[in-house]
Amino acid sequence: MAFDIKKIREDFPILKRKMNGKPLIYFDNAATSQKPAPVIDAEREFYEKYNANIHRSIHRLGEEATKKYEEAHDKASKFINAGFEEVVFTSGTTESLNLLAYSLGSEIKEGDEMVISQAEHHSNFVQWQQLAKNKRAKLKFAEITDDGTLDLGQLSRILNKKTRIVSLFHVSNVLGTINPIKKISKIIKEKSNACFIVDAAQSAPHMKLNVKELGCDFLAFSGHKMLAPTGIGVLYGKQELLEKMQPFMFGGEMIKHVTFEDTKFNDLPWKFEAGTANIAQAIGLGAAIDYLNKAGMQNIERHDAELAKYCYRLLDSMGDVEIYGPEERNSLVSFNVKNVHAHDTAAVLDSEGIAVRAGHHCAMPLHSLLGIPASARASFYLYNTKEEIDALGEGLKKVSKVFS
């Protein structure tokens, strides 16, 4: 299918909005993406036509809601080439990764080792740090080289038979770098018996994922960064591992049978979905996956990488802009205008209708490593264009002028 950006842009109602009389240029996709009409419609249709609780109500609405919810599960499984039993819906990447820290964490003992990288998002950082503290386990850090990529040699050296968990980002939300997950999976299997977890929050929206090829044990991502509503996300886990794991939350759908003495938990994937699910959001995720598949994940990957490269080169040519990370990157560029705080940069860009993120992007340890308090970040998605990046370039000239 042709990748028709004009048509794609028409599907996103928010892109019609004017900011200060100027068209909205939305470059904060790594924080959350905008939503196309089919996703908004799918949520509305659920509430207007078949709102009911799932898996329990024996009436027409309940049956319809359950069918649509399970269809969304099926779409999410196929989206990453996983089995139906291997995909659990959560509220997002953060909950997925916390579920793992809680459930796998119960098996961690004093002296065990865990590995994360220096560039993790706080959502793949703090729970492991706290788990290590609580269990007197050791948390080791895979280092980032000067060019912003993961040091695979150093990673290999810190792995050993005591390593129980390795949890790494797929695409960095600050540097835009892509970790070679397949290669890393191999290194981990050679050197340890650790579970390998992949934080795919920044990769799932932009590239075709195949968990069988990636070779990881677990993978987590959020719906809202890939056109779906907030409050819905995915945890993938290999079936044999999910079967062995203890549930994270109890009650509701995760139960099969309860007596006064004990409880039998439900089958996968429902064992990990306690309480009433975020049904409308899940159905919205299903619609988002349909939309992405129609546009073609390969097309999106090519488009987003091309924009990132175009932006990198434009900013690099400006002279007074410092860029973080290498030229080879996925879908975003973090930068600072020299001698201007990222917040001020973002505020001036905002007056031009350009939305970028400014701050530490939930990666404070990485920012301290880079030696900066904050950075501005432009992150792209399927509806963005090179013309919009040109406008960013003009906006940055204005930033320099205001603060010169």
């Binding site: 705080h341 990222a342 917040h343 905002d350 701050g359 530490h360 920012h367 904050a374």
Partner: protein, 143 residues
């Protein structure tokens, strides 16, 4: 559709000449060697930091100095605030509100940037709070 849902939206108008001037040439930047009170306040969202020091005599702020780094809004607001507080009573310094900062700026500030604009104000209030607590404990110690 209405252009700006946020009534506090001022866009680049935020960077008026007086604000840029305070940012580039801050008043009362530096340190006091024998300060009576000191406090450091951080803004976690953007990494802004302000350390304020006070010299107090007879309930009056005799001197105020600050050090810090951060966005133009946080640093300019602190610079302006020091001018307002110097020579005034502690009571007066404690009573500064968000609205007073908005008044000094001459423009409305949106909810997100309010954190930046009031960072110095919070630091001053905390410095005074600690100073007063210390005084109480010293008095009790004498008893």
């Amino acid at each position: 559709m209405s252009e700006n849902l946020d009534p506090g939206y001022t866009g680049e108008g935020m960077y008026r000449e007086n604000i840029i001037d305070h940012y580039k040439n801050p008043h009362n930047k530096g340190s006091i060697e024998d300060a009576d009170a000191q406090f450091t306040e951080n803004n976690a969202t953007c990494g802004d930091v302000i350390t304020v020091q006070l010299k107090v005599k007879d309930g009056i702020v005799k001197d105020i100095k600050f050090q810090g780094r951060g966005c133009a809004i946080s640093q300019a607001a602190m610079s302006m605030l020091t001018g307002e507080i110097k020579g005034k009573s502690l009571e007066k310094a404690k009573s500064v509100k968000r609205g007073d900062i908005v008044g000094m700026f001459g423009i409305e500030i949106g909810p997100v940037r309010t954190k930046c604009a009031t960072l110095g104000m919070v630091a001053v209030k905390n410095a005074i709070k600690e100073f007063e607590l210390k005084k109480v404990s010293v008095k009790e110690g004498v008893k």
